[in-house]
Structures are given as structure tokens and as C-alpha cells.
Symmetry: C2
Subunit: 337 residues, 2 copies
DNA sequence: AATATTAGAACAAACGTTTGTTTTAAATAA
DNA sequence: TTATTTAAAACAAACGTTTGTTCTAATATT
């Protein structure tokens, strides 16, 4: 590897001092009254030599790493992949980079990742927490470290978050089932203790309540294909088989579909289905799936904006934002009576 | 954020010099004959103070960033998302981190990302190049910078790569069409100049040739949903409508399906379809799609292993590996006669 | 003519490490 | 005792920036 050319090389070639070069390159020419010709010379030479500043040196001096960490459960889930993509793009706009950590929904891994990431002097953290333990995250918050939770969050803490109104989401979906004549509606949930799950379940119950439907059929315990599959199997064997299922994540819905297929049950003729999390491929499924869509773009933008507002204002705000969910009606719900 | 404690704090507290502390902390105690008690003291204090080394300072001095860059077209494409996920996981095992850059299939952005990433003193690069320009990439290679292309690569250059045999892939798929009685087979291609595309098209042609089918119906010019959609629309209007379509990417296939749906054409009854790139959701589509599956896990592992073997051996190898593709037969191809 | 002002640029001290070299003091050898 | 070796640790120079301060001319002011 050829030695990177540095600011001194430029200074030598231009016959100027490194401080002058640095100032020109940092756009502080006016502030420090650097002459026009000097400026031009520096810029020209920098271009010629294809100069790329050494971030480590710059960061060391300034104490800024220009790095934000993003922790998600898994990039392999299209939902989080899209989040990562959006956030990555947004962060780049600020001249920062993103380091991505994956937890695999394992809280211990989450803690380890966090430590590793911290040693990289990250300036901020955007995280989709993967469990109900919050100490390691709240510690950062109380130490005034810029942090924001997305998608999932901790209700009783002051840690800022950007998410959707999960209660409203499942309320909406459930209501839609009810309006279509469904009375025996099952809900396959994810990790029971996670707050998104709790709220979604509450919304589900509330909608049923409002419609004077008593029995609530809530099963499952994980945001995985496997859980969706297993629970659907069970549901299909109940004597009073539900006419509709609300899947609290895209992974769960995949499991549902797998089970449907094996049992040769078709959507929506034999059973109706609504899932959380939108994705283009939902349009091309055997039956295009009606879903609760997260405004991922908005969430990402808000989260990034938020981190940078903390970073620049230096004062710790504690915004907690719940965006409106949107139901994308496709054709996986049948009207019955 | 509380001020990070540094090596000097430890030195002061231990009554030792910073060099001694550094050596203990870096496991060079024996080499430099640091006394037992001093070692223990340093380690104890470091733990007490919860010392986290400043990577920037260390990196600046050592020139090592413990960072590998990964450049992909977009995380929003499940295929690349999975690659990113696998590679990220692999790289973490080495104590390194990954920075991910996205190009959006824009070569200019690719160049800029590369520059930005280089300024982070990355030690290696894994890249899915997004065009036919190779100078900026080959420059790195000739400068002995550890680099490996994955998925896409440059045939005539010595840059190492790990990919699948694209020629064989489409040959396989096309042959499968032929074996099922198809004669009028169309191929919707991606970026014409990209080598994966060229090879896939060649494999397509060769398979037809071998089967004495002359007319080859090759259309399209982009690895996008839009292109797949547009070209399918056209294909459906040809007087001799093809009975089978080979989509050279998952995005193109999505476009196909969109067009099919609009025209109320069903797979495989009205038309057969094979796509490149596998994904779990393909199983749940209206018709589960037969596809050419990349061994993503193997590709990722090999690529990462490769980067680190260059990094440690310090000698530049130029492995060029083509893995065997696998066709996953689902049910999107109909036997006709 | 002497002084003050200003534009333009250089100096030099950090930032927190790593690492080659040197110093110190104790232990061994002569 | 004096010289030599060795164990243990300190010194100090980088790494490539940023940035507060100082210097030098040239120009403007009195």
C-alpha cells in the first residue's frame, strides 16, 4: 500500500504551512484570512495528489469520531435491512458513517456489541433494543450519551425513541377484521415482555373489547418464523378454528403462511391474515398481504435528525415520538358474516 | 458524556509510566520484562476505572484501524442484505468491525464512498462493484491493498473475487426450461456491461444453442424492478409471446410478477419463470419461484477469510473463486410440449 | 516619519496511543 | 572493589491532524 499522502505533502508542495493548508481544507479560509491564491493553490494540489484526510488523526484531535452506531436484531430481516439502509444513507449525509451491530435478538450479544462499539468512540447510538433489560442502555442515557431507540422502546424510561403507535396499529388491524365480520380472531405475538408486543396485544384486546368480543386468542412468544409456524399449526387444530389471524411481525406471518400451505389452507378464502411490517414482496405473495406499514423512512430520518440535534445542541432532549401507522389494504382479508 | 479515562490516568494511579501501562495492556509484558506486581497493578486499575482504549490514538500510531469496508449496491435488496449480515458477522469474529457503504448502483457514488471509506483507514475492502469501471478498484489492488470482489467481478483483471459461476447458472436454468419443453424463452437482463450479466447471457445463449434453438430473446438493461416490469410488458405483447422468462435478478423478477399480475397472467400456467437470487419469501409467492441460489454463506465466509489471509500473510494472493450455483426447484416452471 | 492597523501566514502545542531507545538500580561476575 | 550484565521501567519521538497564538510584511493613519 502506497503511503497515504498527507497534509504536510500538500504544504510542502504549496510552499505553505500545514496549518494554512488545514484551514483551507476545512473551509476556514475566510475566518483566518488566507489569501485567494493560497487557497486555490492548496485546493488544486489537494485534488492533484488525490488527498484524503486521515480521519483518525482528525478525530483524535477533535475528539469526534464522526461515527454513529446502529444496533438491530438482524439485517436478514427485510424490515431491519430497510431501516439500516435508510439510516445509513441519512447518516452519510452528515459526513458521518454508521457501524452496524447485529444482536440476533440475544440480549447478551447486545451488551457485548454495545461495548465493542463504544470503544470505537461512537458519538451516538440508534438501537432497536432486543429485550426487556434496559440498564446498559439507560446507563448511556443518564451519562448524557446521545441515544435513541427506534421501533422498540422502554415506556417507563426517559430514553428518547421514535416508533409507531403500536397500540393503534393492532387496534386498526383488529377493527378491520371485525368490520369484515370476523369474530374469532387470533393473535400470534412475539416476545411477550417487549413493549411493542405488549402494546400491540393491548390494542388487539381493546378492539375486540370495543366490539363486544370476549374470547381473545393470543398465542406465541417469539418474533420468528418458527413461532409463527408452530402457533398457526396449533390454531388450525382448535375445534373453533379462528377465521382471522393477526401476525405481530413479518417473520411470524411467514411462519403462518408456511403452516397454511402445509395444511392446504388458502388466504383469504379459508382464513384471513394481517401482518405487521410492509415489504414490496408482500404484493406478490399467493395472496397479497394486508399489513400494518411502518413509515420506515420517516422513522429513520427522525431518528438520525434527533441524534444530530443532541450532538450539536449538546443538551439532552428526551423526545419520544410515536408516528401514525398505516394499514396497507391488499387482499388477505375476506368479508364474512 | 463523562471524559474517557486514558492510559495516563492509569499510569498516574499506578505510579508507573504510560509506556509500561501500554505494554501491559497490549500483552507485551513478557517481551519487555515488566514485573509481575506492576502487571497486576495495571490490570486491576484498568478494570477498576473501566478503561476503554481510544482506538483512534492507537490506530493513528499503529496505522491499523481494525476495520473492513463492505460496499454493496443496496441493503434494501434482500440478497445484498443477507450478504451484509453474513459478512458483518464473520468480520466481528476477528475483532474487526465492518463499515457498510451503499452505491445505489451508481458508479460515481461508488467512487465517493470508496474515498470516504479509505479516509477511515480501512484495512481491507469487500466490494460488489456496480459498474464496468474498474480503475479506482484496480488501483487499490495494484497498490497491494487487501481487496476482494464478491458476486460481481472483473474477468480480465487480477483482482481476487468470490462469486458463483454465472455462465453455468443461467445455462442450468435455461436447460431446465428446455428440458421442460420450452422453446420460446426470453431473458431479461440487467446492466449489459456488467460481467455477471454478460456471463449469464452467454450461458443462456449457449444452452439455447446446444438445444438448437436459434432465436434468442434478450431484452432489458437494468437490475431493477422497473426494468423487469417494462420488459415483461413488452414481451407479453410480442406476437410470439415467450412461454418462459429467465429473470437475471430478484428485482427483475419482481417487475415480471407485477406485469403478470396486471395482465392477469399466472405462473406457471400461462408463463414459466426462473429468477436469480434466492430468498425465503420466494416460497410464499403466488407461485413459489424456482431460482438460482447463491451460496451466500460460503461466499461471505470465503471472502472474509480471504481478506484476513492477505492481511496476515502480507503477501498478495490473487485467488479467483467461482462457487457452484444451485438451482432451487419450486413450481414456477411448467412442462409443456 | 513614526506609529498603528491589518491581511496573510507560520509556529507550536496538543489529542492518546505505540514503540525504539535509554536510564536506573540491583544482581552477578571479574 | 570495580566492571558487567540484567531486570525493570522511564523517556521521548512519532502518527496526522486541529487550533490558539504569534510573527511578518504591507498598508493605513497620525
Amino acid at each position: 500500500m502506497a503511503a497515504q499522502i498527507n497534509i504536510r505533502d500538500i504544504a510542502d508542495k504549496a510552499g505553505l504551512s500545514i496549518s494554512t493548508v488545514s484551514r483551507v481544507l476545512n473551509g476556514k479560509a475566510k475566518e483566518y484570512r488566507i489569501g485567494k491564491k493560497s487557497q486555490e493553490k492548496v485546493i488544486k494540489i489537494a485534488k492533484e495528489l488525490n488527498y484524503v484526510p486521515n480521519q483518525f488523526a482528525a478525530n483524535l484531535k477533535s475528539g469526534k469520531s464522526k461515527t454513529i452506531a446502529l444496533i438491530v436484531p438482524s439485517l436478514n430481516n427485510p424490515f431491519f435491512a430497510e431501516i439500516a439502509s435508510r439510516i445509513n444513507t441519512e447518516i452519510r449525509k452528515y459526513g458521518y458513517i454508521t457501524i452496524i451491530g447485529e444482536t440476533g435478538e440475544d440480549q447478551e450479544i447486545e451488551k457485548k456489541e454495545l461495548q465493542q462499539l463504544m470503544s470505537r468512540n461512537i458519538e451516538g447510538l440508534i438501537i432497536v433494543p432486543c429485550g426487556n433489560q434496559w440498564e446498559h442502555i439507560n446507563n448511556l442515557y443518564t451519562q448524557d450519551f446521545p441515544i435513541v431507540c427506534i421501533d422498540r422502546y422502554f415506556e417507563d424510561l426517559k430514553i428518547p425513541f421514535v416508533s409507531i403507535n403500536n397500540y393503534e396499529s393492532s387496534f386498526l388491524a383488529t377493527k378491520y377484521f371485525v368490520d369484515n365480520g370476523h369474530k374469532n380472531i387470533a393473535c400470534i405475538q412475539g416476545v411477550k415482555e417487549s413493549n411493542t408486543n405488549i402494546l400491540r396485544v393491548e390494542g388487539f384486546k381493546a378492539a375486540l373489547n370495543e366490539s363486544d368480543i370476549e374470547s381473545s386468542n393470543i398465542v406465541g412468544n417469539d418474533f420468528t418464523v418458527k413461532n409463527g409456524y408452530k402457533e398457526t399449526k396449533h390454531l388450525l387444530q382448535q375445534e373453533q378454528r379462528p377465521t382471522a389471524i393477526l401476525a405481530l411481525s413479518n417473520t411470524i406471518a411467514m411462519g403462518c403462511m408456511k403452516a397454511f400451505k402445509e395444511a392446504d389452507i388458502s388466504v383469504p378464502d379459508d382464513i384471513s391474515l394481517i401482518t405487521f411490517d410492509d415489504h414490496p414482496y408482500l404484493d406478490y405473495l399467493a395472496t397479497p398481504l394486508t399489513c400494518i406499514a411502518h413509515p420506515i423512512k420517516d422513522i429513520s430520518k427522525k431518528a438520525v435528525k434527533f441524534i444530530f440535534s443532541i450532538l450539536t445542541d449538546k443538551k439532552l432532549r428526551s423526545d419520544q415520538v410515536l408516528l401514525k401507522p398505516k394499514m396497507k389494504i391488499r387482499s388477505s382479508v375476506k368479508a364474512i358474516d
